[in-house]
């Protein structure tokens, strides 16, 4: 058996060890991506709404 094959075989426990690492990676990356999207989305919406408000205020100085 080559070095890589024996590494991947994990002493016969490959079916338990690799799912552990893959599942952990999937869960953590998914949460990270979702959080990144939430932060960018909310901050973009806020910027947009604040810009339209500023523009409206410039157009009608006395209210």
């Amino acid at each position: 058996m080559s070095m890589l094959e024996s590494f991947l075989a994990m002493g016969g426990y490959a079916g338990f060890i690799w799912p552990t690492y893959i599942l952990t990676a999937v869960v953590l990356v998914a949460l990270l991506v979702a959080s990144l999207k939430a932060a960018r989305g909310a901050e973009k919406d806020l910027d947009a709404i604040q810009q339209t408000r500023r523009a409206r205020r410039r157009n009608q100085p006395e209210s």
Partner: protein, 247 residues
């Protein structure tokens, strides 16, 4: 503490911390994976499955740590009405739930080859499952009300009541007969595991902590922006209502 309760100040501090937290996460994850998968020996009893422990144990620590953090933030929100504490508690919940889920599944993946079973209803495993349900209950409750403040208050009370589960989990292996082994890292007389296994364990623990900081900052930023959006939209609705009355 009150000086940090200001969202604008939080944003300034977060911008400073974020790149460092990202850097520490990447470095310790890379080093942790190297040591846990390649540069550490197989256990004399567990064989290669000891490598599951380098994920399972730090994930369990994070499950407990995040819950404790959530309870402390909730207490600060209830007692001092910090504008940020509620947001930090809300941002912590999904991270803790994710780590608790990872801990339970990886525990099953280790239990099958080593204990001969995916799951047993013993004290440690059951109390950890309850922790996951507490997280899920918190996340459901916090969004269950039309008025976000009411949801936050109800969820904060749940977080505080549920904190009793944290010492139960920690000491469950000492109080009851269980299949789960007792603590081997944090114990009287020093850790009972070899340094070759301690290194990947500590690296993974640091990586998970740094990951928590990264996600906490991102989610809190989203919460702050979301709250500002709500206030502006509410003001717009009120202004539109006033204009209609005048017209």
């Amino acid at each position: 503490m009150h000086r940090f309760a200001n969202p604008a100040r939080f944003m300034r501090i977060a911008t400073l911390i974020q790149p460092w937290a990202v850097g520490v996460t990447i470095l310790t994850t890379a080093a942790g994976l190297w040591f846990s998968l390649i540069a550490s020996p197989a256990d004399y009893q567990q064989g290669e499955t000891v490598r599951i422990m380098y994920i399972h144990v730090p994930a369990a620590w994070m499950g407990l740590f995040c819950y404790t953090a959530m309870a402390v933030f909730s207490a600060m929100a209830l007692v001092w009405k910090h504008p940020l504490a509620d947001l930090l508690a809300r941002a912590t919940a999904p991270v803790g739930a994710a780590f608790t889920f990872v801990c339970l599944v990886t525990g099953a993946l280790w239990g099958k080859p080593m204990w001969g079973t995916w799951w047993v209803w013993d004290a440690r495993l059951t109390s950890m499952l309850i922790l996951l349900f507490l997280y899920l209950g918190y996340m459901a409750l916090v969004n269950a009300f039309d008025d976000p403040e009411r949801g936050q208050k109800a969820a904060a009370v749940l977080a505080l009541v549920g904190v009793v589960n944290v010492p139960i989990i920690k000491f469950s292996v000492d109080w009851w007969n269980t299949l789960h082994q007792p603590a081997s890292v944090v114990k009287m007389g020093g850790p009972a595991i070899d340094s070759t296994m301690m290194v990947p364990l500590i690296l993974m623990a640091v990586a998970f902590k740094a990951y928590y900081v990264v996600v906490l900052i991102l989610r809190t930023r989203a919460e702050i922006a979301g709250q500002k959006l709500r206030v502006i939209r509410m003001a717009q609705v009120h202004a539109a209502g006033r204009a209609e009355i005048q017209a």
